[in-house]
């Protein structure tokens, strides 16, 4: 009996160690998700933006974005907002910030949801409230949403915001790529359309990358050789060209790997076909059976 039990414990220990090693071995994660050939995107050329904030106004007027309040154009003409660094909030899905370039001239940076190729918000969401549309837009369905805000925690670009002051129907707010009323019907996002200097181009992501590379090659003095968003966090639909190093313009330096691959690698290797839970259930059942005489042995009561 005791020999058998010792044997059993040893086997159980080996099994336990094996699954632990298995868990550690998932570090490499899963293969990266590639953007679909039809994926669209936007290329923003920061060397052209004049900081007029028309895009902020157009975004606020756009029906796709379901703003609770549509503000007049005059609300977006105040240039003093550039004195502080602004971020997206529940009532502004895109903002323009001003930075000082190395030549002393201002550089304006529009920011909004990057519409990741492999979005962390979508991977985080437990009720599939986020969806990666065929054109690359990451859309959000408030009807499914529970309001757990794991998407806000997960987003590496710190984009989504929440309507904390709404007691009943708070929504996660982020740029929609004007999916519902515009890009799903083949037209361009409202901000891209209104831009007076056309610093943004909406098009196929693969074409945009080719275009960006050509601009960098043709004007090496004007651009730094980096397309922000081509690889960051697994790649994004929204990409940037700049004449200044991106880290001087409020952009984070981010790795190429998309975190969802690591997490989903862990989840899938543990839970694929429920292998680990079933193994554990079997192991515990065997233990329960194997030890069933132990309690009535000499060491305990009755």
């Amino acid at each position: 009996m005791s020999v058998n039990r010792r044997q059993f414990i040893r086997n159980a220990a080996i099994a336990g160690a094996g699954s632990t090693v298995g868990m550690v071995a998932v570090r490499a994660g899963e293969d990266a998700i590639q953007p679909s050939p039809d994926a669209m995107g936007v290329l923003t050329d920061l060397t052209q933006c004049i900081g007029c904030r028309k895009c902020e106004w157009a975004c606020n007027q756009e029906p796709s974005n379901d703003f609770r309040e549509n503000k007049p154009m005059s609300a977006f003409e105040d240039q003093s907002v550039f004195q502080t660094h602004r971020r997206h909030s529940s009532d502004s899905l895109t903002v323009v910030n001003r930075f000082e370039g190395s030549d002393g001239k201002p550089v304006y940076v529009k920011s909004q949801c990057m519409h990741c190729v492999d979005p962390a918000c979508l991977s985080a969401c437990l009720v599939t409230a986020f969806k990666k549309e065929a054109n690359g837009a990451v859309s959000y369905d408030s009807w499914r949403c529970m309001g757990c805000r794991y998407c806000l925690v997960a987003c590496p670009f710190q984009v989504p915001s929440y309507e904390y002051l709404d007691p009943l129907t708070p929504r996660v707010r982020k740029c929609t790529l004007c999916f519902r009323e515009r890009t799903s019907r083949g037209s361009v996002p409202a901000c891209v359309e209104i831009c007076p200097v056309q610093c943004m181009t909406y098009g196929k992501r693969s074409d945009l990358i080719r275009m960006a590379r050509a601009r960098i090659a043709n004007y090496p003095d004007r651009y730094i050789s980096h397309i922000y968003g081509e690889h960051e966090m697994g790649g994004t639909s929204w990409m940037y060209l700049s004449g200044e190093p991106f880290e001087n313009l409020g952009f984070q330096t981010l790795p190429d790997e998309a975190p969802p691959r690591l997490v989903e690698g862990i989840q899938h290797s543990i839970f694929r076909y429920f292998i680990s839970p079933i193994l554990l259930f079997g192991l515990l059942s065997a233990t329960m059976w194997n030890f069933k005489d132990a309690g009535s042995g000499g060491t305990s009561h009755e």
């Binding site: 971020r87 309001g147 997960a154 690591l262 554990l280 030890f291 009561h301």
Partner: protein
């Protein structure tokens, strides 16, 4: 041999000065809770777009789940490894887990922006197998159910053959007896299935709680961010289970003016250094493997928090519990167990808040009065209901016959 310890309802008054304080804390928490439902999360909490999770998630949910680990670890010890001399500790541990998880669910409910959608994860068209939070949510829902089923024998034992409804309800006496009999004859016979399921579900979601933050490598301090967070969460849940049982048993003994059950708790404490030792080793190996030891001693606030968490919550109690004299002394055992419990709570706070460094944030999150009030109110309510239930049901072990028990120490 006669049975030396038997669970019985505790014969103590319910209302004591301590209970009055609990009721005040509950009323205060309820006030802020109502305010949150009437005016929104923003009216009560300091949460913002950078720090979307505060102490309701960190303490009420993440720490609550960890501290309820006494339930599955004790169930595994008694029912699966058949260490039946610890049977007297099982019911209090299961009750704590049942109440703990109930309050975890309440904590989630108050924190959810659209709380009325809390059932959405069970709808197949919304299933999201890639989300660690989905796995946590499903497991917690299933495990709460298992815990309530595991409580059924306590209810049937208390009322079977003595159902006595007052007044007009007395006509239901026979029916109630019949229901209790059915429960006894069905659930109680297949209880082993629920016990094993409970342990499996616990292992699954205790680890997946750690997976949650693996998704944010760029937003977390690398002292805590590691791809093996799920393993660390599981190992720390294993190692906090018995300390929690010990702390709770000793507080209950002192509160009900009894002697602590040292003849059970001291031998139980012998298991802890193994479990805590594995967690200790995993933490150190992870730091060495990711070359973080230098950062651990660089003097920053985060590294100091980490050292306190690890030094006082893991290393010190590990050393203490290796000393037989400390395991046998009530004060020593209680201190060591409490250090482990607080260490795990501190770890969860550190992982979800201290380590969380969202870009562009202008200020660091600190909980508001309202958040603290709700958390305190929930803890008070949990203790109050625990006290109520142990006076009504046979849960706490009582010395039926004064006799030295024969447990290997």
């Amino acid at each position: 041999m006669s049975e030396h310890l038997k669970a019985a309802p505790v014969d103590r008054k319910i209302f004591t000065p301590g209970v009055i304080i609990l009721l005040i804390l509950m009323a205060n928490g309820l006030f802020f809770g109502l305010k949150r439902f009437l005016f929104g999360l923003g009216a009560v909490t300091n949460l913002d777009n950078y720090y979307p999770w505060g102490i309701w998630i960190t303490i009420d949910v993440a720490s609550g789940v960890a501290l309820a680990a006494g339930g599955f670890t004790t169930a595994a010890l008694v029912e699966i490894f058949h260490r039946e001399h610890y049977h007297a500790l099982l019911r209090p541990a299961l009750l704590t887990a049942m109440l703990g998880y109930t309050f975890v669910a309440l904590g989630v409910l108050i924190d959810l922006g659209r709380f009325y959608n809390i059932w959405h994860p069970i709808v197949p068209s919304m299933w999201s197998g890639h989300s660690a939070l989905f796995e946590v949510g499903m497991c917690v829902m299933a495990y709460v159910t298992v815990l309530y089923v595991e409580f059924i024998p306590v209810v049937t034992e208390r009322f079977r053959n003595r159902v006595n409804w007052p007044g007009l309800l007395s006509r239901f006496n026979a029916f109630t007896e019949w229901v209790l009999k059915i429960l006894d004859n069905t659930f109680v016979r297949v209880m082993f299935l629920f016990t094993i399921t409970g342990v499996v579900l616990s292992c699954m979601h205790q680890s997946s709680l750690g997976t949650l933050m693996v998704l944010t490598p760029t937003k977390m301090n690398s002292l805590w961010w590691t791809p093996v967070l799920p393993l660390l969460f599981l190992l720390s849940a294993f190692s906090v289970g018995y300390p929690m049982v010990i702390v709770e048993s000793m507080i209950a003994s002192s509160s009900f003016k009894r002697k602590p059950e040292m003849e059970l708790l001291s031998p139980l404490a012998r298991i802890i250094p193994f479990l805590l030792g594995i967690y200790f080793a995993a933490k150190v190996i992870d730091w060495v493997d990711r070359s973080q030891l230098g950062r651990l001693f660089n003097g920053s606030t985060a590294s100091n928090m980490c050292l306190v968490e690890f030094g006082l919550g893991v290393v010190l109690p590990l050393v203490m519990l290796l000393i037989p004299g400390i395991r046998r002394s009530p004060a020593g055992l209680f201190s060591a167990a409490l250090l482990i419990v607080l260490g795990v709570v501190f770890n969860r706070i550190n992982v979800f808040l201290t380590a969380f460094q969202p870009p562009y944030a202008e200020k660091v999150y600190f909980p508001s009065i309202g958040e603290i009030s709700v958390t305190l109110g929930m803890v008070a309510a949990l203790i109050f209901i625990y006290r109520l239930l142990v006076t009504l049901f046979p849960i706490i072990p009582t010395h039926v016959q004064k006799e030295k028990s024969h447990v290997p120490a």
